[in-house]
Amino acid sequence: MADRYTTNRLNSGLSWADVTPKEVFLNRRQWLAGSGAMALAATLPRQAQARIEAAKSRYSTDEAPNSFEDITSYNNFYEFGFDKTDPATHAGGLTISPWTVEIDGLVEKPGSYDLADLVKGMPIEERIYRFRCVEAWSMVIPWIGFELAALLNRVGVQPGAKYVAFTSLARAEEMPGVARGLLDWPYREGLRLDEAMHPLTILATGLYGEEMPRQNGAPIRLVVPWKYGFKSAKSLVRITLTDSQPPTTWNMMQPNEYGFYANVNPEVSHPRWSQASERRIGGLFAKRVDTIKFNGYGDQVASLYAGQDLAKDY
C-alpha cells in the first residue's frame, strides 16, 4: 500500500493557508460532477443556524439532520459509562479548558499544541454527515470542523509516516467509566495516512453551530463518515504519525468483531449481528433503511481501497 502514499507532496512547501492539496482538490471536483443533488443542500429548511462561523460545505448531505436532542442524549462514550444516556448525565463536569493536543511521531513540528493555537486559522466548515454506528443505528449530524489534512499539513508529515494514531482523554477523576476500568484505557484509534488525508475526514470542534457538547467528544474529535462510529475517536489528546498500523481499542479487545478499517459495509456482517440495514434514530416509528457501502460515501472513498479485499480487511 505504501507506494500509494504521496507523502512527499505534504512537505512541498505549501503555505499555511494552502490547506487543500491539489490532488484532493481534483478529487473533490470529480465527485461534485457526479452529484448535482448536493446543490440542493443550501436550500434545506432544517439547515443548522450556525452561531460559530462556519462555511457551508459541498460535502454535506442534503438529508435532514437529527435533532440536537437526539445527537446529544444518545451517545456511546464508554469513558462515561456503558449506557447511551451516561455521557449526557456524567460528562457535564469534564474540564475542556485548558486543552492541549500532543502531536508527535513522524512529524516535522512535533509538540504540545494548545487547542486554540491548533484551531486558529483553520478553514472551519459545517459538514452535515451521515453517522453510522456499528450497532446498526444511524443519525445525520451537522458537525462543525476542519479537515484533518489541514492540520497534518501544518505540522508536516515526514516521508516515512504511513498511519495516524489517535488517543482520547482518559481522566479517571472526571470520567466514571475510566475510573471503573470499563475498557483498556485510553481509547485508541487509527487511520491509514491516505484515509486521514482524505477531505471527508475532519476534526470536529462543534455541532449545530455550537461548541462541541461534552458528551459528543468535546473539545475536539475525529469524524470519519464512511467508517463505523467507533473509529471517530472523541476528546483527542494525542495525534501520532507512525510507520506501522497502530493498535486500536476495539480491535485489541475483539479482533474478530472490530477490524482496523471498520468501513461501513452491508456485505460484511458483524459476527453477532447483521449490518444489512440500520435504524435511523427518530422516534417510535423511525424507519429502518438499507445500509450503503462506505455509508454512501463510496464515490469519494472507494478508490482508497482498490485491490483490497474488504471482507478480509473489515
Partner: protein, 205 residues
C-alpha cells in the same frame, strides 16, 4: 406467629388472577412512558429492552419459588404458574417488537438473523422452550399429561432460563455488569437445585 406465617396469611386473599393483574403493571408503565415520550430518543430499543428484561426477571422470579419454600419456608407455589405465563407473555411481546418496530417486517433479514446470529438463535430457542410450557400451564393439560410427564416437560424451564440469560450476556458489547448478574442468579438458582439433589442422593445411599 412466624414471619412466614404472617406472609402466608397476608397472601391468602390473593387470587391467581390478581397476579396477572399485577403482571400488567410493567407493561402499563411502559405504555405510559411511550405516550409521555419518556423513553429517550430511541424508544424502539428502550421498549425491546424493557420487555426482554421483564421477561428475564419473571423467569428468575419463577426459579425462586422452590428455593424460597425449601430454604425460607415461604410457600408461593400457588403463584408459580402465573409467573411463568407472564414471563412467556413478555417474551412474546419482546419478540413481536423485534419483528415489527425493530426489523420492520424485513423478512429476509429476520430469517438470516434467526439462523446466523447466535444471540438471536439462543433467544429464539429459549422462547420456543417457553412455548409448550405456557400451553400446558392449565389444569386440563396437567390432567391430560399426567403429573409425571408434565413435570418432566416443565424441566425445560431450566435450559430456557440459562439460554435467556446467555442471550443477554451475548448481545452486549464488552462486559457490562447487569447481564452477568442475571446469569449469576440463574446459575446460582439452578446450582442450588443440583446441590439439593446431590445431598438427597447421598443421604439415601
Amino acid at each position: 406467629m412466624s414471619v412466614q406465617d404472617q406472609v402466608h396469611r397476608l397472601l391468602r386473599p390473593v387470587r391467581p388472577w390478581m397476579v396477572y393483574a399485577l403482571g400488567t403493571i410493567p407493561a402499563a408503565l411502559l405504555m405510559l412512558r411511550i405516550f409521555t415520550g419518556d423513553l429517550g430518543v430511541d424508544p424502539v430499543k428502550a421498549i425491546e429492552h424493557s420487555l426482554g428484561l421483564t421477561a428475564l426477571q419473571l423467569i428468575v422470579a419463577g426459579l425462586c419459588v422452590t428455593p424460597l419454600r425449601r430454604f425460607a419456608g415461604l410457600n408461593l407455589n400457588r403463584f408459580r404458574r402465573q409467573i411463568g405465563v407472564l414471563a412467556f407473555v413478555y417474551a412474546s411481546l419482546h419478540l413481536m417488537v423485534w419483528v415489527t418496530l425493530d426489523l420492520q417486517f424485513r423478512w429476509a433479514e429476520i430469517g438470516a438473523d434467526l439462523v446466523k446470529r447466535p444471540y438471536i438463535v439462543i433467544g429464539m430457542i429459549a422462547f420456543l422452550m417457553l412455548l409448550p410450557l405456557a400451553l400446558t400451564s392449565n389444569n386440563a393439560a396437567v390432567r391430560k399429561l399426567g403429573a409425571q410427564r408434565w413435570q418432566l416437560l416443565h424441566l425445560l424451564t431450566y435450559p430456557a432460563a440459562l439460554l435467556a440469560a446467555l442471550h443477554f450476556v451475548w448481545l452486549v458489547k464488552a462486559w457490562p455488569l447487569e447481564p452477568l448478574l442475571y446469569m449469576a442468579a440463574v446459575v446460582a438458582l439452578l446450582g442450588l437445585r443440583v446441590w439439593v439433589r446431590q445431598r438427597r442422593a447421598t443421604a439415601t445411599t
